[in-house]
């Protein structure tokens, strides 16, 4: 199968998925990107967002909160700090994450402000996208 790639989703505590996929939509730090077979080798960091894997067995969507993705021609591995299947995301979980990020943003120095504010905005966008 020339047009599939090996997709791995790994969190620090365990491997969440290891499947064949035709395309993987990754929420990259500089914007979304879709990895397909024979993609140029790329490493990108992630922003909080939705990760969608399309494969022979259908579509799976995960909410991820940062980490990075390692894309090569034959495989894509996403190392997410936290990844949860879309159906298991709860409002409390999102609220907790947003609250943490907001306190961190409030405490951050002026230099780090951009980064922390973006994190809060990304989390809020993720919450809206999840729709909880």
């Amino acid at each position: 199968m020339a047009n599939t790639l090996q997709f791995d989703l790994v969190s620090p505590e365990r491997r969440l998925a290891s499947v064949l996929a035709t395309e993987v939509l990754i929420p990259g730090a500089d914007g979304d990107m879709t990895a397909m077979a024979n993609h140029a080798a790329t490493i990108t960091s992630l922003r909080p967002g939705l990760l969608t894997v399309t494969g022979p067995e259908g579509k799976m969507t995960y909410a991820v909160t940062g980490g990075f993705a390692d894309i090569t021609a034959a495989s894509t591995s996403v190392l997410a700090e936290r990844a949860v299947p879309l159906s298991e995301v709860t409002a409390e979980m999102m609220d907790g994450l947003i609250a943490d990020a907001t306190t961190a943003a409030a405490a951050a120095s002026v230099d780090a402000r951009n980064v922390t504010d973006k994190l809060v905005a990304d989390l809020q966008a993720l919450r809206a996208a999840v729709g909880v």
């Binding site: 969190s11 620090p12 505590e13 365990r14 500089d30 990075f68």
Partner: protein
Amino acid sequence: MPSLKALKNRIVSVKNTRKITKAMQMVAAAKLRRAQDSAEAARPYAERMMAVMSGLAASVGGSSTAPKLLSGTGNDKVHLLVVMTSERGLCGGFNSTIVRLARGKIRALLAEGKTVKILTVGKKGREQLKRDFSTLFVGHVDMTEVKRVGYADAQGIARDILARFDAGEFDVATLFFNRFQSVISQVPTAQQIIPAIFEQVETESTLYDYEPSEEAILADLLPRGIATQVFTALLENGASEQGARMSAMDNATRNAGDMIDRLTIVYNRSRQAAITKELIEIISGAEAL
């Protein structure tokens, strides 16, 4: 010669001890399996992370703008030692081996005129190190409440270490923990985490595109890498603790068995002696008549 009753009591008490150590051994065996599973499950992430980071470090490391976490602060005057031990005892030499390694390192550093700061994780190590180096302590992480080590725990410790680093409290950080090899063998290990050291791994020479820039990714990854290293160390330590406890309790159970056998022989012998003595008294009494 203790009385029969005293002997009997001792046998009963040793039998009770054996029951307890046997139960502890079985609990440790069950926990060990779980600890090993989680250590196993965490491995892919840690390995991937290190591979990517060492690739990045190799390409960025030389430049003068490299992050401090990688290049260091430029001197190595103040050392932070993070000593990881268990919260509970009864696990053989587990805690002592770590503490011995840490103590050796502390003495060596002090002899070189460096400043040493100690951060302990786990109660047992703190108790042992407090005796000699109570003035060097800067903090302690209590894991008593933690039933199962999660990534969040490691993140907490890593955040603490990073905050101290950003505040300029130390130049070099080293982790002390036991690396799990097998049930009977745990290797006390010292691992330097700041500045980061990477083993030169032979990476396939794929040329990667980086998004955003290499340095931005590296700056993002290094703190995560520290959390990952702390997490790995915690898991290894957890598995080692259970392994050490299991073999210690196995030994204790066997010792208790031996002791019961010996005591039973002594008990039977003195019971026989008592009977013989009584018989002799009766017979000699009858003959005297």
